[in-house]
Symmetry: C2
Subunit: 161 residues, 2 copies
DNA sequence: CAACAGTTTCAGTAACGACTGTAACTTATG
DNA sequence: CATAAGTTACAGTCGTTACTGAAACTGTTG
């Protein structure tokens, strides 16, 4: 007995939550977000563009765009079956680490802006105090995230490798 | 001799870079972003809404909205001078720590979504493997950011207090 | 090489969000 | 209580973006 499993309604609601999260967090449009959410729970894990379109209620044309976005972002991977022309898309093995890494890098990229600001105003001038505050935080943050991801990689290697 | 200082053109360009960053990163509209950038380098540090409007080339009405956004986000603080009715806005002492803290919290908030997904599919089911991958990363990340900010607070206290 | 399944491109549309200008409101001053 | 500086609320406009439907394209099968 494997239990009843989620209802289609529950699945839809969860997919919508995923889409909402990536819309807010990564600026992903609704349909790519829904396709991503769907690919996280669909059974089987591989789905054609047409199947995904039907599942989330969008046009096939929209799925093309959505899948391009997801492919470019490294979220999904294309796959083929012998004797079939259809491309079956599946969630990448672990898109999350890379995506999150990128987001944090983007966060600390403010360091370049503050650095240029300090150059402009003179790093030691009183007027640059406000910028320096920001510069210190983002510089420190930048020095923290490197080791942090090293710890993650070590942990992953320990579990998988 | 304190040097020539930046040209208005250079200031404008830098302000635009700040605005661009916060538009991409925090979803801030252009004008709030520009106002924020301006408040980072303006001299004197306190500015009225009218002054800011002139400096970044926006209407006063827009500045009202922009300043509300910045006040709500904790970026700026209002100030008054005796005998004057004008409100002078200045950059908060250190908005960056709090803002960045919020952003990282938002990042790890995906944990709630993956958690619900695991409940829905059954945490140990084969179908939940994809969700579990995400859940592990964000759970770990969540456990990392707490201590990380503690280190920052300690560092700050050591320097300031 | 013809037929066809599937994918992609593109033009058009609808909805959304930001910004402006004006008008109403608030509050300190004489 | 009248005045004036400044702030706020609002209606309208402009630009952008996501999405759809139809047509063009690609590549495999018989």
């Amino acid at each position: 007995m494997t239990g009843p499993g989620p209802t289609p309604e529950q699945e839809r609601a969860w997919v919508e939550r995923v889409a909402g999260f990536f819309a807010r967090q990564n600026g992903l449009p609704p349909i790519p977000g829904r396709a991503l959410g769907r690919l996280m729970i669909c059974d089987p894990p591989e789905q054609s563009a047409a199947e995904l379109a039907a599942a989330i209620g969008a046009s096939r044309a929209s799925l093309t765009t959505a899948l391009q976005v997801l492919l470019a972002g490294g979220f999904v991977e294309p796959g083929h079956r012998p004797g079939e022309r259809t491309t079956y898309y599946r969630l990448a093995d672990d898109p999350w680490t890379e995506v999150t890494r990128r987001r944090m890098a983007a966060l600390t990229s403010f360091l370049a802006v503050t650095g240029e600001g300090l150059d402009l105003l003179g790093a030691d001038s009183a007027r640059a105090t406000r910028i320096r505050r920001a510069h210190e935080l983002f510089g420190w943050l930048d020095s923290e995230v490197g080791p942090m991801w090293q710890r993650w990689d070590a942990r992953r290697e320990h579990r998988d490798g």
